[in-house]
Amino acid sequence: MKKLLLALLGVGAALTVALPGAFARTEATQAPDAVPGITKNSIVIGGTFPLSGIASLYAPIPRGMEAYFNYINARRDKKTGQRGIYGRKIVWKYYDDGYNPGQTVQLTNKLILEDKVFATVGALGTEPVLAVRPLHKQRKVPQVLVSTGASYWGLQYKQYPWTSGWQTDYIAEGRVYARWILQNAPTSKIGVFFQNDDYGKDYLRGLEQGLGSKRSLIVSKLSYELSDSSYASQLSRLRQSGADTLVLFTTPTPTARAIGTAKAVGWNPKQIVINSVSATDQVMAGAARAAGQAYVNGAVSTGYLKNNTNPKYRTDGAVKAYRRIMANYGPDGININNTFYYYGVAKAYDFVKLMYVAGRNPTRAKLMAATAKMNWVNPYALKGVRIKTSQTDRFPIDQGKVVRYNNGSWNEISALYKGR
């Protein structure tokens, strides 16, 4: 009796290890020349995003993309009369990697091996994307339109031909600020406050490159860590350096803190410059509440997408379409003024365009080839911005307009600058 029990326990222990494996689906047999993720009526794509944890404020991006894909799946194409892309519905799978590259690797493997996606689209985070770039290369899976402004994707396309970016990269954006300052405020004394990682350093590099021989306009540049509990030390030193222009190359939450702290240390810079990632309505509203509306009015940034909350765009076709899409195809109870939903929709638009370029019988290679042949106007982007790539230019968006903040909206105040 006891021996039986012990044997059962042994088997039981073995089963607890094997049971999850029992749920493993057996490999579905596919026709030998079938493209993974593409069937007669579906395209399966995936992505990894920080839905929880420190970067979870970007979580609306995949949801915006989802809304747009739902819209595409429901509407009938004007030319072909089919729903989806050439009759194929987009199946969009995304997972939460918590901005931990280790998790990204596991989840991307899941997408490629288990979910058998055709491509990964819009993955967020420089380090998470870097972690899986070689994996995509090895398995020849497209990694397109990644949601990061690092310049690796546009510069290293020869070593990593299966990865492509999308937005204006940070260095290019830094250059735009430099050009604007040289044209409009050439005697500024610039104090830069930047995040001490590739993100902040790229922006700074761009600014310095753009200033060129006038680099000495930067009188002080100080960095902070995400683990800092207060920026009072750096901001009071920036004030003491005599700078009259505060340039913030910071992620959203630190941006609000920096503005509040700048006021708290008694500094009133003539001009505040905020990088585009952090120039969101939420950040500005928070900063205004802490430092006063007058303090933040007049801050400048750059943008390449239309500011969907600006009253000027209330009747704009694309912004109205965005609102309709989010209302009909997006999740319930969300704040559609959040610019990250808009960003997701704009990106999804470009992905759909890419798939059309890839043709009626898309393959992974054709999709990557399409990323070198982009040349169209994205209605969600600012007028004049062109989504353009070529064999030698792999930066789909490299332009921006300078925008100025006033009482809740960002207004365009310059012509289009080219960052590259």
Partner: protein, 358 residues
Amino acid sequence: MNVVDRNLGRAIGPALFLAAAVLVILLPRFMGEFRLLQFTLVAIYVIALLGLNILTGYSGQISLGHGAFVGVGAYTAALLSLGRPGLEAFQLDPPSWIPLGDGMRPIFTIPIAALVTGLFGLLIGVPALRLGGISLALATLAIAVSFPIVMKRFAEVTGGGGGINLNLPETPFGWDISTRHWLFYEAWVTAGIVFLAAWLLTRGRIGRAWRAIRDGEVAAVSSGVNPALYKTFAFGVSAAFAGAAGALLAIETAYVNPDTFPVGISILLLASAVIGGLGSLAGAVFGALLYVFLPIYAQKPPIFSFEFADQAPGVVFGVFLIVIMLLLPGGVAHFFRALVVAARTGRFRRRSRTSELA
């Protein structure tokens, strides 16, 4: 208990081990590639948790910094497997006094990483003697928090925030098995070796000394046990195991970067070790299964699937930790052992559990 019973009791452990070994060997036949990847990760975390188990479970030293040891092992393996030429290809310029060599087969980096991390652990173990429970927790937490920061700071060696991409893994010596299978067996064989090592350590004099120190240091001293020696040794062993796990992790994911080892990893490892069951080697297996499978299946539960809010998995996990500790303070392994005892004696006896628990 008669002699037959006692012999059966002794036979359970090895029998289960053999059963598990057979399972591991057969597993790849039934599993898809992704599942194999997950079980490879399970093996890696079994190794890491065995180390943590020895430190916190057997020798009673609470450690909130285990993730840092894993990270040290991972970076060591990454740097060694790329070698100086490999690093220079990334525009990295490590100082010449670091003995990097020219790159080596990844498999050889595992024991070296274990050694290096073990030495690091011994180094930590010495001052740790002066610090008692709370202070030691703080010190290990400080190490865990500082590790990613220091790795970012010395970017010429570590690649900074961008990290280092290792060469993608490949089957060595031209053997005819797929890379995925090779990694699976490499991880599990290492896990088996480490498990045996842990078993030998804990059942012998060293293990008894550890348990004696854990249960009452003063009494242990009066029995002639030198706590300093054994406690430091526990740190070294624990770190060595973590280093081996880190090396395997680096080989498997082919990418190391400071943000892969945030302080949260150390905390999750500790939680997994406790839930798995401290003071019991099998607990490491349960803990590793939990660590690998829970985060993914919390996001997309395989059986029911309804719309979870984004943040729900975090809340669920936290509540899960609390509930498990309320119901099974000894962890899953202890629960199974209690079942065995109940089966053998025929009744559910409430025994004093203080010596079983950490």
